[in-house]
């Protein structure tokens, strides 16, 4: 067994840290700050020859793990490859970037890549911007995984307008002959509430309020996002952590007048909307009336 001797590179910020080797690309990564200190191509050859594993000299991995499911190499070397699908690879990179901005897990990214591949090969949406297709695929993947993101959230990490993403979304559903489930208010509670820093109790109350409001049909025709935002507003105003409509509107991507409209619809029956075990900081009759 060969063990790697410490190469002469060190992390500039942490000279004492022992660098961790990332076997896939031959990188040396500092465990303290995550800085990639050296790539495979820079691996110091003059270190102890006995200690260098031959594969780290390669720019392109050849192990089983370095090919993704399509048979293409996962990690791009500097040489031009598969020019015919370069657009697709570029799109995958873009998808990865977008997903990274909102911290989406790998399974969603994989699903997005699959969807994009299917759409790309079908060529029915060929005239559309690849970025638009990619954004729409990302939206669909999030929906299919049961963790929908609003169009506005996808817009925030993409350069494409909501209108175009919406159009591509509908086209892709048609092209792939799939469908997606309808969004519900509960899908967004966890994310919005934690972004606002609301405690679990308030989040659970808001989820209950929104669900009850929809069941009682107090808000016909309102977008679930608006209803969710109004429910969060009501729950937070009844608790110790009061949030303004503006703050909630900012996080949810809803205008504060929209929250006001939906709030006005649920306010009259506020008492029955709260969960039975809710601890009121502000009683129901003292809730703000807008």
């Amino acid at each position: 067994l060969r063990s790697l001797t410490l190469p002469r590179v060190t992390c500039p910020n942490h000279p004492d840290a022992i660098l961790v080797e990332d076997y896939r690309a031959g990188d040396m990564i500092c465990p303290e700050c995550g800085l990639v200190v050296g790539t495979g191509s820079w691996y110091r050859i003059d270190s102890n020859v006995k200690g260098t594993h031959p594969s780290t000299f390669l720019l392109q991995g050849t192990g089983a793990a370095s090919f993704d499911e399509f048979g293409n190499s996962k990690y791009q070397n500097r040489r031009t490859m598969s020019s015919s699908d370069r657009a697709m690879l570029h799109a995958f990179k873009e998808i990865s970037n977008m997903a990274d901005r909102i911290n989406l897990p790998r399974n969603i990214v994989d699903r997005t890549n699959n969807l994009f591949k299917q759409v790309y090969e079908q060529k029915s949406l060929k005239g559309r911007a690849n970025d638009a297709i990619a954004s729409a695929c990302l939206y669909i993947a999030c929906r299919q995984e049961g963790v929908p993101r609003t169009f506005k959230e996808i817009c925030a990490v993409s350069r494409i307008s909501k209108k175009e993403i919406g159009r591509c979304f509908k086209l892709i559903l048609k092209a792939l002959e799939t469908s997606v489930d309808l969004i519900t208010t509960g899908d967004f509670m966890s994310r919005f509430c934690s972004n606002l820093g609301l405690p679990k109790q308030v989040q659970m109350a808001a989820t209950f309020i929104a669900r009850k409001a929809v069941e009682l049909d107090l808000v016909p025709g309102r977008s679930p996002i608006s209803v969710a935002a109004a429910a969060i507003y009501m729950a937070s105003q009844a608790s110790a952590e009061k949030k303004t409509q503006k703050e909630i509107g900012d996080i949810a991507g809803v205008a504060d007048v929209t929250i006001r409209q939906s709030y006005r619809l649920i306010y009259p029956r506020a008492a029955e909307l709260f969960p039975p075990d809710f601890k009121f900081d502000t009683p129901v009759d003292k809730l703000p009336q807008l």
Binding site: G166, S179, I183, S223
Partner: protein, 258 residues
């Protein structure tokens, strides 16, 4: 009959101009079904060239609240002649008539647009004297653009273009699209509808508050709203609209909100 009177009117007014008469290649369509047609507006006898301008058009079929404006417009018409002198000397008589007609047009247009027509009554610009069908409803006039009337309106536009001096002809008039709106008078559960009719429906509250139902048999797109209002579009024939509504109504009844 409206037609002929209007034709006469236009023909008289063009009598001075050197522009060629409008050629009608298309045979006149047969008069269509029952249309609540008003008494045709009395057209003034245009007295010769250099025309007395529009003189007083009979706007009596318009509802009351429009009458004061109607007075204004008829005053405008009457005053147009005196304005004629004030107008640019370079205008010859033919064009004087045009600009006064334009004044009238503006008045009629502002009458129409100012009224805040309900969102389900798409207003299209009315050229002067397009007969507006009065409906006995408190809300006022709802223009029912009858297929025949739309053809008439198209002819008038062709006239206008012709009067501007272009060699205009009126050929191959075809109705390309018909839009209808209606109300089923009960609220609808769109979520239920999208679950059962997935292959036809698209309901994305984030994108549009209504459900978009693409019917296959008559190829019609219906916008269905929670309130029970339905908009049908994409029809080439009136019968398609009726058929589509007959098809969708029992489905909607099944998703009535209790």
């Amino acid at each position: 009959m409206d037609d002929l009177a209007l034709e006469r009117y236009f023909d008289d007014s063009i009598a001075n101009d050197s522009s060629c008469p409008l050629e009608e290649e298309l045979a006149h369509q047969a008069a269509p079904q029952q249309v609540p047609s008003p008494s045709p507006p009395q057209l003034p006898e245009t007295s010769g060239p250099g025309g007395k301008v529009r003189d007083v058009l009979d706007f009596s079929f318009l509802p009351d609240e429009l009458n004061p404006q109607d007075d204004r417009s008829s005053k405008t018409a009457a005053a147009a002649e005196s304005q004629a002198a004030a107008l640019d000397v370079s205008h010859d008589s033919g064009i004087v008539q045009d600009s006064s007609a334009a004044n009238l047009q503006q008045d009629v247009l502002s009458l129409g647009l100012g009224r805040g027509a309900s969102p389900f009554c798409p207003m299209t610009p009315m050229t002067p004297m397009t007969p507006m069908t009065p409906v006995t409803e408190k809300s006022g006039i709802i223009p029912q653009l009858h297929e025949e009337q739309s053809r008439l309106a198209a002819r008038k536009y062709a006239r206008v273009v012709q009067k501007l001096g272009f060699p205009a002809r009126f050929l191959d008039f075809k109705v390309q699209n018909m839009v209808a709106s209606c109300d089923v008078c009960f609220p609808i559960r769109l979520e239920g509808l999208v679950l059962t009719h997935q292959q036809f429906s698209s309901y994305e509250p984030e994108l549009f508050p209504g459900l978009i139902y693409r019917m296959v048999k008559p190829r019609i797109v219906l916008l269905i709203f929670v309130s029970g209002k339905v908009v049908l579009t994409g029809a080439k024939e009136r019968a398609e609209i009726y058929e589509a509504f007959e098809n969708i109504y029992p489905i909607l009844k099944g998703f009535r909100k209790q």
